[in-house]
């Protein structure tokens, strides 16, 4: 016999049931959930990189097959969505940095705008470096 979930003469608290879609009712809630969901696309692309690494370990034919797969409409469509979400992640992440990290130089707090700008500058430089290395081949 299992124990009952209630105690006799002890009324349950009144709690409104919240729909699983609570975040669609308000724009800022929707933004929050979309921002949290960027992690799924980040993980998806990490797995693609892992797949590429495995293809490179297996040999030239496996690498050709990998390149062919990425050119199929399914992966082109997926990667377009991944790109949009990854850029959304980058922008929200950089804009949040000053709130998560307070930087002080000689006892003075560095203004939020400076920290955000440094992030965007680093983004630009690193993106250029990645492109340079991969295109020089």
């Amino acid at each position: 016999m299992s124990a009952p979930h209630y105690t006799l003469y002890h009324p349950r608290w009144y709690r409104r049931r919240v729909s699983v879609w609570w975040w669609l009712q308000n724009r800022s809630y929707t933004g929050f959930v979309l921002r949290e969901l960027t992690s799924v696309f980040v993980a998806f692309f990490a797995v693609i990189q892992l797949w590429q690494l495995r293809a490179l370990a297996q040999g030239p034919e496996a690498y050709e097959r990998f390149l062919f797969r990425l050119g199929t409409p399914l992966f082109l469509a997926l990667d377009t969505v991944v790109f949009l979400f990854v850029v959304f992640h980058a922008i929200t992440w950089f804009n949040l940095t000053p709130k998560a990290m307070v930087v002080r130089v000689r006892g003075k707090r560095v203004p939020d705008g400076v920290i955000v700008s440094v992030n965007y500058a680093a983004w630009l430089v690193l993106s250029g470096a990645v492109a340079l290395v991969l295109l020089r081949g």
Binding site: V42, A43, A46, L53, F83, W93
Partner: protein
């Protein structure tokens, strides 16, 4: 156990988020769109192997793949709790999320270690 190592998990989340923010847009754009669509020439098998022969490239790839997986594990765990109201499955979700990240990091390390 998860409670005790929370600071470490948060550090991995934060480091992985920064790596993904700074480097993923360029990589997704090139490998996912520009190379397959022929906008830019994809690097050859030989040139990528030449790059991989350098230990710094391998370290870079490990950071590029493993840290964002931990970023995902941490963020997705809380998305499931709050978004889908699965608070009662806390332990199971934590084990699954971090388990996948550890598995992915292990596979990355193995491939980078053994690649010729």
């Amino acid at each position: 156990m998860v409670q005790r190592i929370t600071p470490l998990l948060w550090l991995l989340f934060s480091a992985g988020g920064t790596v993904a923010a700074l480097l993923f847009p360029a990589h997704v754009f090139l490998s996912g769109l520009a190379f397959p669509l022929g906008w830019l020439p994809a690097p050859s098998y030989e040139s990528l192997h030449r790059l991989l022969s350098h230990p710094l490239t391998r370290l870079y790839l490990f950071v590029l793949i493993a840290l964002p997986l931990f970023h995902w594990a941490h963020r997705f765990r809380y998305t499931l709790y709050d978004g889908l109201q699965l608070k009662h499955l806390t332990a199971l979700i934590a084990v699954l999320c971090y388990g996948v990240a550890i598995l992915g990091a292990g596979m990355t390390a193995y491939l980078l270690w053994t690649i010729a």
